[in-house]
């Protein structure tokens, strides 16, 4: 293979806008070349990242979820044993709708009842029945009488995983017997909480979030699930539904008031530090206050910063290249 003198970054499409912004700044303000950033999705990123150590493998991967044990295993098998995990901030998962209608006020319970394939028997018995609800009003009499129609990420997406854990599972736990079930039979509980309807109320809408935004505009009855930055950029056309009474705003998410938010990460291959020029400097740029701070340019791009304390902790991790445990 030929020599490489620039950083190669792969991974999540959610982190891509932030990573590229940093890369651009880094390229402009340092003598190093601008890193190459590929948008492969978190899973694709780990696949490439964990394939081995060497110039032909990427140095950094972005992820919209934490690395999974099986991925760590792959990494280790391929000789990638020293990985630095850097948490960079949060992404809110919003349920957005068109501006043409008043904003919905949903609880996680509503969300669960509206979207789960099997819901607790409305009669109160401790068993589940196939989801009978057609309209939001069926779910909760306070909600408007419109058909349930939610455009959301496909099963392959990290956003969907996060949505299931945060919203659906949270909603399920609001039923007492389900909460107890969780302790008794975790598997069954998750099956109930994590299975989305397949009768058309929940629509897998692909990974292009701009497309969902435009579909929402065309169809005021529909709700869409996607990352906060798309809401931020299209605030004139769409609005975020309140979840458990909290509006998805920058402030609410960063204050951890909004219940649906997930952490974002990047992972560094320590073995490459010191041989591929610029890795440390790139990490330094990313973790600098002017980038990821509350006033930094990433916040401008829609990244919700970590709380101050966590941020400085993470910066230390990054500076010292503290390797995460591989079990």
């Amino acid at each position: 293979a030929t020599a490489r003198d620039y950083i190669s970054i792969v991974g999540s499409s959610t982190v891509y806008p932030f990573s590229t912004t940093v890369a651009e700044h880094f390229g402009k303000t340092t003598p190093f070349k601008t890193p190459k950033v590929e948008s492969t999705g978190s899973g694709g990123g780990f696949k490439l990242f964990c394939a081995g150590v060497g110039v032909q493998h990427p140095d950094i991967t972005n992820a919209s979820r934490a690395i999974k044990p099986s991925e760590k295993q792959t990494c280790a098998q391929n000789g990638v044993r020293e990985i630095v995990q850097v948490k960079i901030g949060y992404d809110g998962i919003v349920l957005a709708q068109s501006k043409k209608v008043p904003a919905m006020h949903l609880s996680r319970r509503d969300i669960f009842l509206a979207l789960a394939k099997e819901v607790p028997d409305p009669s109160g018995a401790e068993k589940t029945v196939p989801n009978p609800y057609k309209t939001w009003k069926d779910v909760n009499p306070q909600l408007p009488d419109v058909k349930i129609e939610v455009l959301g990420p496909p099963p392959t997406s990290g956003t969907r995983d996060a949505f299931l854990e945060l919203a659906m599972q949270g909603g399920a736990k609001s039923f007492k017997w389900l909460k107890e079930l969780k302790k008794k039979d975790k598997k069954l509980f998750k099956k109930i909480a994590h299975t989305l309807r397949e009768d058309g109320a929940y629509i897998d809408a692909g990974e292009n979030d701009n497309l969902i935004v435009q579909k929402l505009e065309a169809n005021p009855n529909a709700l869409g699930i996607f990352g906060f930055s798309y809401l931020d950029q299209n605030a004139d056309k769409i609005q975020g539904a309140f979840v458990d009474g909290v509006e998805p705003t920058f402030e609410n998410i960063s204050a951890q008031k909004y219940p649906l938010s997930r952490p974002l990460f990047f992972y560094v291959k320590k073995a490459h530090v010191g041989t591929i020029p610029g890795i440390q400097e790139y990490i330094a740029e990313f973790t600098s206050e002017k980038a990821w701070g509350p006033e930094g340019y990433l916040a401008d791009k829609g990244l919700i910063p970590l709380p101050d304390e966590e941020r400085s902790k993470m910066r230390e991790v990054a500076r010292k290249l503290e390797v995460m445990p591989m079990e």
């Binding site: 620039y6 806008p17 890369a23 190459k36 590929e38 979030d209 931020d232 401008d300």
Partner: protein, 422 residues
Amino acid sequence: MESHSGIAAVVKKTLNRRYRAERRFRRIGLAAVAVGLLFLAVLFTAIVSKGYTAFQQTHVLLDVYVDPDVVHVGNLDSADYQGLIKASLRELFPDVKGHRDKRNLYKLVSSGAGSILRQKVLEDTSLIGRRIQIWVPADDDVDMVIKGHVDRSLPESQRRLNNKSLAWVDALKEQGRLEKRWNLTFFTAGDSREPELAGIWGATVGSFYTLLITLSLSFPLGTAAAVYLEEFAPRNRWTDLLEVNINNLAAVPSIVFGLLGLAVFLNFFGLPRSSPLVGGLVLTLMTLPTIIIAGRAALQSVPPSIRDAALAVGASKMQAVFHHVLPLALPGMLTGTIIGMARALGETAPLLMVGMVAFIVDIPRGFTDAATALPVQIFLWADSPERAFVEKTSAAIMVLLGFLILMNGAAVFLRNRYERRW
């Protein structure tokens, strides 16, 4: 007709019906053409109406004092030029106080303004210590407001620019310091995270290198394969297999070719990821079947009597083919190649698999540099949250279509010159 005897009488009976059928047939044909053209018109209108605004960019006129304390001969490269820009903004709006407001004020101009100033100073160091007037691009949010893509009457919370920022924008406009100008950056810059600094030149060059590889491999290879199969190959199991193979490859989804490229070119041969070389190779494999099939059809349409004539004066089979058949079939082969190239130019899916879907700021300078291609750039921009990328996406599509029309035009010209009926 006078004589109604014989055939005329019989034929006449059915004539009205037949002419009705004729007219119907003709009308169906015309309608089909109209439907095609209508689709084309709708598509183009949709794209152009969305994208044409991207060819202009809002710029801000600033009076910058090139402070010798900040910039001096020792730090020409790395001076804080953006700081100078900020200073000039503060001068324009001296009443802006408070950290938050100041930040909002700075956000009116692009973060790339500093490097424009830097460029200017580097070109002419005598500017140091002087006060100069300079047009710098406005931030994309300002641009969107000026272009009317954002409804100003919305409540403040639903806009990216708050009321104060809007007031500053209006003030600048009143002073004649805000102007929509021809967006040269769009055509000369590489990708950027800032919409106002992003351009398609990088992707265009990437596409160019990629297509160059594709064309220079697939046209000769495709022609050669078509010639072999049509003119030389014996009819046997092996050539049957080849034929089935080629037809089948034409039907293989492009994304599968991406998987192939990933496995073979990147993992097995270890060619550089994200490079036009690999992209070009993948697209070559993808377009080859199309070119071969079209090439064979073109060769088939050359009458055998031409081959006989050449052979009978003592031309070898090879000479007969290369002197007579191939030149006659070339226009048809060209059609196939255009179709193949057009497809290659607009192809996204396989490039995603070989790493060309990347953020690359630098303009590629060779076949092995990391690069993207135009459609991939479109794909990337289309998925970008920044509102200003919406018009950029459409504008990039317009440029891509422009190339396409140019290519088609040249080929159509060639083909029309040589088309014949036998």
